[in-house]
């Protein structure tokens, strides 16, 4: 039996294998494009056009929205679809841990979010001449934010069902809820104390604050706190996914 680092190497390779396959199979599916690409841009233009806002702030908001919606779109779309088609059984029966499988699935959403936000950033820099105040912080924000929101999406993908439609409703509700309580549309500094306390419950608040630090250079919280909160929330979001997968195994999904 494989032990130690050999097992770790196998598991990491398998996680990447799952992610690479999903990237090939699902990235151009209409569901992914609608929820992962069109939704953040649609929201951005709905709430930002014709409002007074610096270009740097606009790009920071677009990046936060893109990371949030795109990364969280993959899990609720892919896993129930694979359950319905029976291909998820192939992955569950394979010699890898459930955590490896979930990390592979999380990588799918994370890479998707990074790719779409890089496109948005490129357009922002090329078309509007936006300058990035802290590029490394931006890279860390994109990486950790996409991981955190992708594992958030996995929670909904882990709901025991074969029907993607049953997952989209609660998934969309929660994402919209987290969006509206966060500091994306109303800056944290302008919120009343109660609203600010609620905003701290949304991981999107920390992602937006990081983007504000990285692009225009004006954040409200410590960037280290933002990074830590995204990392912790990303790990914590894996727990309900693991528990629900175990429940699915009891129920037969």
């Amino acid at each position: 039996m494989k032990q130690g680092w050999l097992r770790l190497r196998d598991e990491l390779t398998q996680a990447w294998t799952v992610a690479a396959k999903d990237i090939k199979v699902y990235y151009l599916k209409p569901g992914m494009l609608m929820f992962g690409v069109m939704m953040p841009f649609f929201l951005f233009f709905s709430f930002s056009v014709r409002r007074e806002m610096a270009v740097g702030q606009g790009v920071a908001r677009l990046l936060a929205l893109t990371i949030f919606f795109t990364a969280a779109a993959a899990g609720p779309f892919i896993i129930p679809l694979e359950r319905r088609l029976g291909t998820y059984d192939r992955l569950l029966a394979a010699p890898m841990s459930l955590l490896t499988l979930l990390l592979g699935k999380a990588a799918v959403g994370a890479f998707f979010a990074i790719a779409v936000s890089v496109i948005a950033l490129t357009v922002g820099v090329a078309a509007f001449g936006v300058s990035i105040t802290q590029p490394w912080l931006l890279a860390a924000a994109m990486l950790l934010g996409s991981f955190s929101f992708s594992t958030l999406g996995l929670i909904f993908g882990s709901i025991p069902t074969h029907n993607p439609g049953e997952v989209q409703m609660p998934s969309t509700l929660l994402r919209w809820g987290l969006l509206f309580i966060s500091g994306v549309f109303i800056p944290l500094a302008e919120m009343v104390p109660m609203a600010r306390a609620v905003a701290y419950l949304s991981p999107l608040t920390y992602a937006q604050d990081l983007m504000n630090h990285a692009v225009p250079g004006v954040g409200s919280l410590s960037p280290w706190l933002d990074l830590a909160m995204l990392l912790v929330s990303g790990v914590l979001f894996l727990i309900p996914s693991l528990l629900m997968h175990r429940r699915s195994r009891q129920l037969g999904y």
Binding site: Q14, K24, D89, R249, Q250
Partner: protein, 347 residues
Amino acid sequence: MTNAIKVQELTKYYGRPGKGVLAVDQVSFDVRQGEVFGFLGPNGAGKTTTQRMLTTLLEPTEGRIVINGHDLARDAYPVKWKTGLVPEESNVYAELTAWDNLRFTARLYRVPRAERAARARELLETFGLWEKRDVKVEDFSKGMRRRLSIAMAIIHQPTLLFMDEPTPGLDAQSARAIRDLIRRLNAEGTTIFLTTHQIEEANQLCDRVAIIDHGQIAAIDTPERLKQAFRRVQSVEVALEPDGLETSRVLETLNVSLAALPGVTTSVKMGDKWRLYTEDPSALLPRVMDYACSHGLRVVSLSTLGPSLEDVFLEITGQQVGTVRHKTQENGPRRRGRMGGQKGGRR
């Protein structure tokens, strides 16, 4: 001979134990290394539930599964490396090519990089898919998907292969190719756990069969021994033809007449033949001949048959041999239908 699978008092409730649906009830059996083990049962009997528990896809409510010496509840990881699964639905990735599907599975099972291409090519050639290797699977027929699904299940050369209904819905050529493959894999040492409705398939392929009904094992033995245990379902099969127009009327009431012959327990029309179930075929043969002569019928063929595995299966599952029978005109129109284990029609 050692056991590849040992199942002890396996139980599965869907829902709360004692209150939910009991799908598998205290099932125990062994599968020996190197055998083809058939798992037969009617719809809803618990076949697929059992197989899903054996492949770690479903958690048992109670009981113990040991595969190749590893307790599945505690130590499934080494078992998974050596296990292949062909589910009832061909779970291939329609958006990928046949080649990519195989390469993906090979990577997932960590087949050495140097061997991946060679194994994929060999399997594609074996299954007649090499020419279609770069075609997306969404353009494949059902039979081609099935073959690819099996190829994906064996690319890592498992020692234990689970197959759930591998041939239904396939054309005769594809079904035969898959049966030949099962024989070949088994000859090479692979233990095969075959879940099937196809009783004749189990008869041809399996060293032993288990019949599961209502979540419980009703019988386990070799096909021949099971048949021996059910001698009472022997039969005489006869094809009759009218000699003239008048005698053709006799055919209309033949079902009733044949069933009324002494010693016939049940008569069943099977295409252009009649199968007469009896405990004593040798005594029935002259009676059938006498009946044909006295009614101006020509005997096209006449043979005695031992119990088939299907007969055994129907007896065990309470569906009763010969329950597909013909009713007389007085009883209503001719129709085919199960009588759910009732003894109606027996004499």
